[in-house]
Amino acid sequence: MVQKGLARPAIWNASLRDADTLSALPKLAGKILITVLIGGFLGATLVRLAPGFGVDEEELDSRLSAHSIQALRETRATEANLFVFYSRYLSRLLRGDLGNSRTLQRPVSQLVAERLPETLKSVALGLALGWSAGFFLAVAIVMSRAWYLDLLGSLLVGVLLCLPAAVLALLFVLAQAPARLLLGLVVFPKIFRYSRNLLVRSSALPHVLTARAKGLGNLRVLVWHILPTAAPQLLALLGVTVSFAFTAAIPMEALCDIPGIGQLAWKAALGRDVALLVNLTMIVTLVTLVANSASDMMGKTFRVGEV
């Protein structure tokens, strides 16, 4: 007999609703496109409105004549009007041209093509390490219920949460440790803390207590009763950690001299390179949105079974 509303989160009932998922894809793609365009526009607006826009250290060069300074200003005049700048940018984008970097004197698409794989590699490795360490430590603590392990884990995570990614990067440089591991350390505490709290809450649910009382083993309780309840939220966390990793990539790449887009963004910011910064903002927004949407969709597929 089917009783609607009575949830039985006791089994892996991850039936992928293909039809629903496919019909949601165009809507999702449209949403992502609009968000990226608005995001890029906001980025350009912030850059345009920021005090100091149009000021260039080249103008301080006393060897330049008034005529040269005027010529320099004219080359930046197209960037002065935000709408002109952005509409030109979009029309070029449709032709596959992301413009040229003023500071590095190279096409932006070339720079991104060279550096994005480096960052993606670092982010993927960092996420894999952070998730393995954070999730499995949380599982070990929840299943063993060992107070000393919990205390140790909490202390470690407490210290890591108090360290800015840039300090960790400096410490890695000083210790000559492999810099790519750093992103793992940045995302590890967030994953550990969130998944520990989630697993503790899930393991206190009545059906889990009943399963334990009936004598089910630890592994069976975890796989069949605790994880299915926590899975949607854990998958949502996956998307968020991608965003964390990209943010931490800026100090890591800048300080550890890794030629990724984090370092490129830092150099572009120091060089006041509007075109490059707007492109990078849009690319990172796009990657973050795709990751978040994918993790949301994966979360929705883990539907709680109804008896």
Binding site: V55, L170, L174, P251, A269, V284
Partner: protein
């Protein structure tokens, strides 16, 4: 964990008091250069030694901590107020207003705000004064950090606006601004309080990241970012353990902020 919370609050108060008394406790101003004593070891005159420009490191730690401890809460207050205003109105109004505001919030949350932050910070005029740079840095943090809190406050405001006491207030003739100000906002205070205390360490950490990247508070005004940046040179002068004092103080202060909230007040 009540003792941990009490200890954290006492420690934060002690640090705040020391920073406010920096002029009394420090032997010199943060910018004063003892040119005959660069990179000096700790002594009675210079408790933490001096940096490569001969500036007293203890004075710089005190003044730098003061900058971060005064302005990070100010930025957190700004972002909490923005979140209360935007999230509160969206949750209270509901319907299309809520959907539009939440779409904007989602957009804001999906933006890589550290990218935006370094961009705007880098575009400040080259001749900006240290005081203006510090104010702009923390104002930007406050203006960019409201979105996550606004979502939580919107959800709370929505739940509250459908509660019995709001219905009773409506029935007794309260409406609009009065309902919002007299009944909704006071009940949102615990959430706002939690969001404020969560934001403070986040902003301190972000300023430190910016400072280490050279995009934070301009010299000679010290901040934790610029103090921690000195760790870069620690390998060139081995055995100077006292250079780690700002880092240790930083960890203690940020962890104290984490301990201020009780478990019940923290989100999952």
């Amino acid at each position: 964990m009540k003792w941990a919370r009490t200890t954290a609050i006492v420690f934060l108060l002690a640090v705040c008091a020391a920073c406010l008394l920096a002029r009394v406790l420090a032997p010199a101003s943060y910018a004063h250069q003892f040119r005959e004593e660069p990179n000096a070891s700790p002594s009675r005159q210079h408790l933490l030694g001096t940096d490569d420009l001969g500036r007293d490191r203890f004075a710089r730690v005190l003044y730098g901590t003061r900058v971060s401890l005064l302005l990070a809460p100010a930025a957190a207050l700004l972002s909490s107020l923005l979140a209360a205003f935007i999230g509160g109105i969206a949750g209270f109004a509901g319907g299309r207003v809520e959907r539009c505001v939440m779409a904007g919030t989602d957009l804001f949350l999906s933006l890589p705000w550290l990218f935006l932050l370094i961009t705007v910070r880098a575009l400040l005029p080259l001749n900006v004064s240290p005081m203006v740079s510090v104010l702009i840095t923390f104002a930007m943090l406050g203006c960019l950090g409201w979105a996550g809190a606004a979502r939580i406050i919107c959800a709370d405001a929505r739940a509250l606006s459908q509660s019995d006491f709001i219905l009773l207030a409506r029935a007794s003739g309260s409406s609009g601004f009065r309902l919002l100000w007299r009944h909704l906002v006071p009940n949102l205070k615990p959430v706002l309080y939690a969001q404020f205390w969560i934001s403070v360490p986040v902003f301190i950490l972000t300023e430190a990241n910016l400072g280490i990247l050279g995009l934070g508070v301009a010299e000679p005004l010290p901040s934790w970012g610029s103090l921690l940046r000195e760790l870069e040179s620690i390998s060139t002068v081995p055995g100077q353990a006292w250079q780690l004092v700002p880092l240790i103080l930083f960890i203690l202060v940020v962890s104290s902020f984490h301990l201020v909230l009780t478990k019940e007040e923290l989100p999952v």
